[in-house]
Every structure is written in structure tokens, then in C-alpha cells.
């Protein structure tokens, strides 16, 4: 039999670490010693199956040891040092806010494969975003395809299964024009990674028949060898199907793809830095056709009430999935019954393989035949491999012999909690020196900002995705009058009328991310990302009080105090903002150890926090888009413009140092967004677009060329908090809480009435001359730019 007993009881500390490294267990010395202690107590050595099971159950990917571990955080601010101790960062920040807010419309938060909130009386909506960074660095196409495949299975595996309605994807890549000679040996060129990742998401998402409706791409040289691939899926689930209830005696059914050597050590590998010699078996290949069949059939089985529990095989494979379902009861699995792609797999490989497209079900014995018949009829492979017990133990057998037997309590709660050190020092950041720019330069700056790689059109990516399939996408990723005239939509809206008959309700999806700010201050980055996600949703008609959030942290090595310190700051911001806005986080994920070694030197990625927002819109008729609608309408800017150009696109384009990262007044922001929502619901706003990367002039340009309309702006009417701000600073500042809004003349008084008490100003009109005309008497500036030229500038950069 292919099972080895691994000597652990008598190993020295050094030998324990050698064992951990040699077998890619990614366990620390403290953890290895805990394992040693357990087996000393039961007076035997572990089998390889047991050791591998512990390693993956305790992996960073599955247990989130850093975010749930002890952290001693030391802050140096205003010459003072304060120390704060966290016993579980996640529970004391992000999750705490959710608990304290205690929203009645939250159905399932932070406990299942996805977060679920109320949709209507009978249905809930589930949303989850995952990362698949390491696999995508090694094999961009397969890595991203299985990333989206995996998050779709998360939605299938929430409660008793939700029906996926839409996908989202956000990527961070290295610069596509990187010279080949600068790409480290053994790693892919960033452009190859980018194209491969996009194709992977496209092929998997499109073949699953799920529209990809929202996303974003951020380029920075810091992601050259370690791209970030965030994939999200939203689905709808009957409220009476949101709980699993596995009972002793239920059978373990594995459904879908066969098990091969794919992705062995994927879970433990996620805690390892990338280098040239990275483990080859950590590559997964997806097969969307198999997953599509699983999806269609399992929803039928769900509605026939043929099973009591389901979860997906993600990181850690069967070990993780079966272990999760049987955590309370105990389980026995016969590994030789698992269907294999080819012969020759060892028992431990079968148990932890991350072969794709597999789901595990807990089926009452009486439904055994019915469920098998159903899957067989639809050509989906389904095999019973074991039984849930009542001994609270994990027992595995192979060809009749026991190859593993461990206490569930040890497996799931036995991981020791070490204390990590975190540190943050306040930096003295000042405004940049005053930016004075001539008339002509300002004109070309506007176009250069529009052409910047982090502002420019992503249509060459977006148009590869099917964003219409299922026929429920009301607000799509590109908006405008035609294929040639389009601008970026703020958020996506799905109207699930084919599932929920006669509903008027819709679901909004949006996101916010800006690692550029995080290079200066991760607290402000997190705050801005949260507000950006909310602003985007509010722009299309979402109620800011009915939004829910997902967090996805991608950080460097948390064993380095500065890096962990920046993570603590971002988590603290999540708590503050969630509480302040009174909107809960419902699920999240973290991917740490995103660093890579080139020629002996270690580089860490710029920390990135993706905030995804989801909300329910009461009436789909009250949604709007960002393109200008009619000549003669008035243009407003809502919110105040501050001298905040730290980490801005303009600072990159003009290559200047310093500048403040945008700050945020939660109270003002919350109230303003609510009022915008009221105005949209009353039909007083024709179009709305938020100001973010590239500043207000970028937003105005996008609205103009998407609507094929001209626009006249008097820049002197824009309200600022500092009279000394130059025109360039006003146009390109990236201050938060600002919106550009188009209002019909007859609605002006009603609109202004609602906005009373806020800082806003009417700055111009929609014109019929197809020019963006901007005047400032104060700065003696007159800019006239044809909107077609602006659109060309926006579209020319990414033509893949």
C-alpha cells in the first residue's frame, strides 16, 4: 500500500523544519511541534496522509492564521508610541463591525462559502470574491480560469447552493510595456500574464453562461512577477436553502470532475514566496463544461431536497471540503472509491488534490438512488465515497485499511496561535509644491491623464466577456451612444427577473481599489476604496444604506512588522468605515505572502485591498448611467475639491513627489450619498459619475464622449477648501466624496432643495458643439478640446 509512516515523534527542532520544507507542508516550527505533541500523546507516528491533511487544514489559505492570530501592534504617531494587542484581527475589526451593526437583512455572514443578504421575502443574494494569484503567476490562463471556476463553486456551495447570476473580476498586473530583458528568468512577461489571465476568465465565464459584468485593472511594476487576480460571483438563493445541516449517517457524495495530480499543495503553496523553482504540481486546469453540468444538475437536486449539505472542493481538495462538512459529526472516507483521472495516485494525493470542478454533498441514505439517478441522467459523474459518523474523528481508509484517524477538534482548532509583531510609523507627508501649468500644457495633460494606463479604456478586455448572457444585465460595463462612443460605467446592475418572477428589484455590484494610495498610507487607501465602491454603486442608483461589502486583502509577507502593520491599519479602517457608514462586511478573503525573489533579492507587492460592494435596488426603473443625455442640461459638481494629489494619476503623469492622499469625512459622505439616491429615485438626475482616478476633469471628459455631447465648464465655480489651489490641482485632485451630475433645467430647483446643506455648485451646461470647453477667468485659461480627440486619447493606450 502506498502509505508511509513519517517519523516525527523523535525529531529535533531542526529535523522538524527540514521535514516541513522537504514535503512542502509550509508549517512553522511551533506548528510542527504541536503536531509532534499530538502524536506523542497518541503514541504513534503519523502517516503521510495524516501529515498532509494537517498541513493543508492549517494552511494560511484555509485557516487565515495571520488575520485570526495574535498580533502586537505598535504605532508611532506624534512622537508617541502606543501598543495595541489583537487576539484575532479579523474578529476585532471587520467582523466586529458586522456584529455591532447587526443588520436584520444579513442572512449569512463570515461563516459559509459566501456572504448572503436579503433580496426579497423569499430570496437572498450571495456574493463572494476570491483571489487566485500564485496559480495565475505560474500559468496565467489556467490559473485565472480556475480562479473564476472556484469562486463560482463558492456560490454553488453556499447554503445548499445558489444560482450564479454574474461574475466580476479585478486584476493587478505589471506594466505591459516592460522590456523583455527586465523580466526575471523563469517568469512570464507581464503582458503575457495579463492576456493569459483575461483569456482564462473569458473562456471559463463565457462557457459557464454567467455574465462578467464588473471589474477593473490596475497596472504597476510591483506586480510584475506576482499578479493579483480577484474573481467574484454573485448568485441568488431561496432563503430556506441558506443553511446546511449535516447529520450522522448521511453519505458523502463527490460530484463532477475526476481527481488527478492537479494542484497538489495549492493550499500550502499559497503560504510560500514565488521563486524560479516554484512547485510545478501547483497548476490547475479548468473544465467549464463539467462545472456547467454540475451547476445545472445540483440546483435540480437542491430543489428536490435530495441533500442536506454541500460545499466545493477548493484549496485543500477533498480534505478541506469533507473536513468542513464533517467538522461537527466526524466522517469516514474510503479513498480508493474516489474516481481518478489516471492510475498511480497515492492515498494522500487523492485526499489533498485540487483537481477542479468537484463538489461534495451530504446525502441522507434514503436519497442514495434518487440523487445518483439524477446526476447520471445529466451525464455528471457522482460517487459515494464515505459516511458522516458521530465520533468527531476523521477516518480515512484505502483498500480496506485505515490510513488516517485524527480528532476533528485537533484538526480544526489545534493550530497554535503565535504572536506576530506589527509596526507603523507615521510619515510626515506634505502637499506637493504648487502646480502651475500653462494653457497649452493643461490641454495636453488632460489627454495624457485620459491615456494613462490606469485611467484608459479597458474595452479591449471588457468586450471579450459576455456581459449579456442570461439577459438580465441592465447596466453594463460600458455606457454610451454607440460602440465607438462609450465610457466606463460606475457599477453593474442585474435584474433577476427570470428567477424571481414579477420582481422590480435589482442587484448592484461595484468595486473600489487603489494600491497607489497604499504606498503612502494603507488606512487612507482602505477608506478610499470603501467609499469608491459605495460611490460607484450610488452613481447608478443604489441606496447607500443598503449596501454590503466584501474585503479582499492581498499583502506581502506578514512576518515583516512593517507589512503587518500596514495590514492592521487597513483592517482598522475597514472597521471605522463600516461602522461609520453603517454598512456591514459580509464576507472576505486574504492572500498573504505575495512576494517574490529575483536574484536573491525579495520584493513585496504594493498592498492591495479590493472592496466589492453589493446592494439591492428597490426599483430597477430608478437606475441611471454615466453618459451625458441632453443638450441644455445643467452640470453640477457635488462635494468639495481639496488639494489632494498624493498617489494621484497626475502625480505619476507629471512625475512629482509628495502630495496628500485623499481623506474622508464619513458623516458628510454618508449624507451626500443618501441625498443623491433620493434625487435619483425621484427622477431628478439624468446622469451621474463619480470622481476618482484622474480627478474631476477625467470624469467630465468620460461623460461627454460617452454621450457624444459637448460640455461648457466654468472652473472658477468649482468649490475648493483652499483658495490658493491652482487650476491643475483643482482639475486633477482625487478628493473623495465628489460626483458630477447632469440635471434637466426643470428639475434644478427640486434637485438643489434635496442637496441643501451640502457643498455643491452648478459649473456648466451640456452643449451641442461636441467640445469640452473649460474657462477660468481667475487663471486666465480657456481650453477647447474636441470630445472625439478626448475619446481617442482614452482609447488608444490598450489596443490588444
Amino acid at each position: 500500500m502506498n502509505v508511509n509512516i513519517i517519523e516525527i515523534i523523535n525529531l529535533s527542532d531542526k529535523q522538524l523544519m527540514e521535514l516541513s520544507k522537504a514535503n512542502v507542508l509550509s508549517l512553522s516550527l511551533v506548528e510542527m511541534k504541536e503536531v509532534q505533541k499530538y502524536f506523542k500523546n497518541i503514541k504513534r507516528n503519523p502517516t503521510d496522509v495524516e501529515l498532509e491533511t494537517i498541513a493543508q487544514t492549517w494552511s494560511e489559505h484555509c485557516k487565515h492564521k495571520t488575520l485570526t492570530g495574535n498580533i502586537e501592534y505598535c504605532e508611532h504617531k506624534n512622537g508617541k508610541k502606543t501598543v495595541k494587542k489583537y487576539k484575532n484581527l479579523l474578529k476585532e475589526t471587520i467582523f466586529r463591525a458586522t456584529v455591532e451593526l447587526n443588520k436584520k437583512w444579513c442572512i449569512s455572514v463570515f461563516k459559509d462559502n459566501a456572504g448572503v443578504i436579503d433580496f426579497d421575502k423569499t430570496n437572498g443574494v450571495a456574493f463572494k470574491v476570491e483571489t487566485h494569484n500564485h496559480p495565475s503567476a505560474l500559468e496565467p490562463y489556467g490559473g485565472s480560469a480556475t480562479g473564476i471556476g472556484g469562486v463560482i463553486r463558492d456560490i454553488l456551495g453556499v447554503g445548499l447552493g445558489a444560482k450564479p447570476l454574474a461574475n466580476t473580476d479585478v486584476f493587478c498586473f505589471g506594466l505591459p510595456d516592460t522590456k523583455s530583458s527586465e523580466v526575471p528568468e523563469g517568469m512570464h512577461h507581464p503582458k503575457r500574464i495579463a492576456k493569459g489571465v483575461v483569456s482564462g476568465v473569458r473562456d471559463y465565464g463565457n462557457r459557464m453562461g454567467i455574465p462578467t459584468v464588473n471589474g477593473g485593472v490596475f497596472f504597476d511594476k510591483g506586480y510584475m512577477a506576482n499578479p493579483l487576480v480577484y474573481c467574484g460571483t454573485m448568485g441568488i438563493i431561496p432563503k430556506n436553502k441558506t443553511d446546511k445541516e449535516v447529520k450522522s449517517g448521511d453519505l458523502v457524495l463527490v460530484v463532477g470532475g475526476r481527481t488527478g495530480r492537479d494542484g497538489i499543495h495549492g493550499a500550502t503553496f499559497s503560504s510560500v514566496e514565488l521563486d524560479k523553482e516554484s512547485d510545478v504540481s501547483a497548476v490547475q486546469i479548468g473544465n467549464p463544461i463539467v462545472e456547467k453540468k454540475v451547476l445545472d444538475t445540483m440546483l435540480k437536486a437542491r430543489d428536490l431536497k435530495l441533500y442536506r449539505g454541500v460545499t466545493d472542493c477548493g484549496a485543500g481538495g477533498l480534505s478541506s471540503a469533507v473536513g468542513e462538512l464533517g467538522e461537527k459529526t466526524g466522517v469516514i472516507v474510503e479513498l480508493d472509491r474516489v474516481p481518478l483521472k489516471y492510475k498511480g495516485l497515492k492515498p494522500w494525493e487523492i485526499w489533498i488534490s485540487e483537481a477542479q470542478e468537484r463538489m461534495v454533498f451530504a446525502v441522507p441514505a434514503k436519497n442514495k438512488k434518487k440523487i445518483l439517478d439524477l446526476f447520471k441522467k445529466e451525464n455528471v459523474e457522482a460517487t459515494f465515497i464515505g459516511k458522516f459518523t458521530n465520533d468527531q474523528k476523521l477516518t480515512l481508509t484505502y483498500e480496506g485499511k485505515q490510513v488516517a484517524c485524527m480528532e476533528m477538534a485537533f484538526l480544526h482548532d489545534g493550530v497554535p496561535k503565535p504572536t506576530r509583531q506589527a509596526m507603523w510609523k507615521e510619515q510626515n507627508i506634505k502637499k506637493q509644491s504648487s502646480l502651475k501649468v500653462s494653457n497649452a500644457t493643461l490641454s495636453s495633460d488632460i489627454k495624457n491623464v485620459l491615456s494613462d494606463i490606469n485611467v484608459c479604456s479597458r474595452d479591449c478586455i471588457i468586450r471579450q466577456y459576455d456581459h449579456e448572457v442570461q439577459g438580465q444585465t441592465v447596466i453594463k460595463p460600458l455606457q454610451g451612444n454607440s460602440i465607438t462612443n462609450s465610457g466606463p460605467s460606475d457599477a453593474a446592475v442585474i435584474w433577476p427577473y427570470t428567477i424571481v418572477k414579477n420582481t422590480k428589484k435589482a442587484i448592484v455590484l461595484s468595486n473600489g481599489i487603489n494600491p497607489e494610495y497604499g504606498k503612502i498610507d494603507t488606512y487612507k487607501m482602505a477608506a478610499s476604496a470603501i467609499e469608491e465602491a459605495m460611490r460607484n454603486a450610488v452613481c447608478v442608483g443604489a441606496d447607500p444604506e443598503k449596501l454590503s461589502l466584501l474585503d479582499n486583502f492581498c499583502w506581502g509577507n506578514p512576518n515583516k512588522p512593517e507589512i503587518l502593520g500596514s495590514l492592521v491599519r487597513a483592517s482598522q479602517a475597514c472597521y471605522d468605515l463600516s461602522k461609520g457608514f453603517s454598512i456591514p462586511f459580509i464576507s472576505g478573503k486574504d492572500s498573504l505572502y505575495n512576494e517574490y525573489t529575483i536574484a536573491g533579492k525579495t520584493y513585496s507587492i504594493p498592498p492591495a485591498l479590493l472592496i466589492s460592494a453589493m446592494g439591492v435596488i428597490e426599483d430597477v426603473n430608478h437606475t441611471i448611467t454615466m453618459n451625458l443625455k441632453d443638450v441644455g442640461n445643467d452640470i453640477y459638481i457635488l462635494g468639495i475639491t481639496k488639494n489632494e494629489l498624493g498617489g494621484s494619476i497626475y502625480s505619476k503623469v507629471k512625475n512629482f513627489k509628495g502630495g496628500l492622499v485623499p481623506s474622508l469625512d464619513i458623516k458628510v459622505s454618508k449624507d451626500l450619498m443618501k441625498k443623491i439616491n433620493t434625487a435619483i429615485t425621484k427622477g431628478l438626475i439624468e446622469s451621474c459619475h463619480d470622481c476618482s482616478e484622474g480627478g474631476l476633469i477625467t470624469s467630465i471628459s468620460e461623460m461627454a464622449f460617452a454621450g457624444e455631447k459637448g460640455i461648457n465648464i466654468d472652473a472658477d465655480l468649482i468649490k475648493t477648501d483652499d483658495k490658493k489651489m491652482t487650476l491643475a490641482e483643482i482639475l486633477f485632485s482625487e478628493s473623495n466624496t465628489r460626483f458630477i451630475v447632469e440635471v434637466k433645467p426643470e428639475n434644478v430647483s427640486g434637485f438643489e432643495q434635496i442637496l441643501k446643506g451640502h457643498i455643491f455648485s452648478k459649473i456648466g451646461q451640456v452643449s451641442n458643439d461636441k467640445n469640452l470647453t473649460l474657462i477660468s477667468k481667475k487663471s486666465k485659461v480657456l481650453i477647447k478640446e474636441n470630445i472625439t480627440n478626448l475619446q481617442k486619447a482614452w482609447q488608444k493606450t490598450l489596443q490588444w
Partner: protein, 154 residues
């Protein structure tokens, strides 16, 4: 027997994969490639006849309106020769090849009962200023991921 069935766009029809490959090669900083013809290759091994191979090629693997197929027959793969200025990319054994799994099923659906093994490959025929060093760079830098694929060049 081993049959390699090659599928190529007919003359006068667009070869989008080839066109994209040219721009992708430029995209990673390699100059001088003028054009690329893309050919999908299906290696079918098993006890089937030439006639059956033709049925598989014409009824299953190619589009009669836009694509041509060519069948190469080998006793063993050792007889195979790589064309000049071409790069072939194949999955390494043990790597999941989902297309081949579907092809095996579809061959059965065509009524061909014989057991076959199918592997899928990609062939790129390049024109322009080329040498073996450059071909190798294109293969490793763009077309083949040596983690899961192997490549053949000449």
C-alpha cells in the same frame, strides 16, 4: 497508428489566432516576425483506419466552410519531422487536456468504437526574420508554458 490531424483556416478566411500571435510576439519585444499561420493539431492514436481519421477530421474537428484539414499518418512518432520555422506546443503528459477528453467522447458519438488516445497541440508557422534562437525565445516567452507544456521547434 498515429494520426495527426491539422486544422487550418482556408485561404481567404481570417486566421485570428495567427494575427493575434504576431501582435503578441511584438508585445513581448521580439521584432521581425511578419506573419504567423496557426494550425490546431489533434494527435489521435489507436487502431483506426485512414477513412475513420478522415471522418473525425471532416465531421468533428473542422468547419467545412472556413477550415481545411490535413492528415499525417505515422507508424510511430519517431517518423515525425518538424517543419522549418515552426513551433509546436503540446501538453506534458499528466496535465489535464480538457479538449482531448471531449474529442474522445465525440469520436465515440460518431460511431467509432475503437479506443483512441487523443492529445491536442498547437502549431505556429512563422514567416519573417527568424533564427533558432529567436524561435526558442518566442516559444518560451509566449507560446509554451514549460511548466505544463513542451515545445518542438525547427
Amino acid at each position: 497508428m498515429v494520426f495527426e490531424i491539422e486544422i487550418k483556416s482556408k485561404k481567404g478566411f481570417l486566421d485570428p489566432h495567427g494575427i493575434h500571435t504576431v501582435s503578441d510576439i511584438e508585445g513581448i519585444g521580439i521584432k521581425g516576425v511578419k506573419s504567423v499561420d496557426y494550425i490546431a493539431v489533434y494527435r489521435v492514436s489507436g487502431n483506426i483506419t485512414v477513412k475513420q481519421a478522415k471522418i473525425i477530421a471532416s465531421e468533428l474537428l473542422s468547419d467545412k466552410i472556413t477550415e481545411d484539414f490535413y492528415i499525417k499518418e505515422y507508424e510511430t512518432l519517431e517518423q515525425k519531422r518538424i517543419e522549418n520555422n515552426s513551433i509546436e506546443v503540446w501538453f506534458k503528459s499528466g496535465v489535464t487536456d480538457t479538449v482531448s477528453e471531449s474529442v474522445v467522447k465525440a469520436i465515440k458519438d460518431l460511431g467509432i468504437e475503437e479506443d483512441v488516445v487523443v492529445k491536442t497541440g498547437k502549431k505556429y508557422c512563422l514567416k519573417g526574420e527568424l533564427n533558432s534562437k529567436k524561435l526558442d525565445k518566442i516559444a518560451t516567452g509566449l507560446l509554451a508554458n514549460t511548466l505544463i507544456q513542451e515545445y518542438l521547434i525547427k
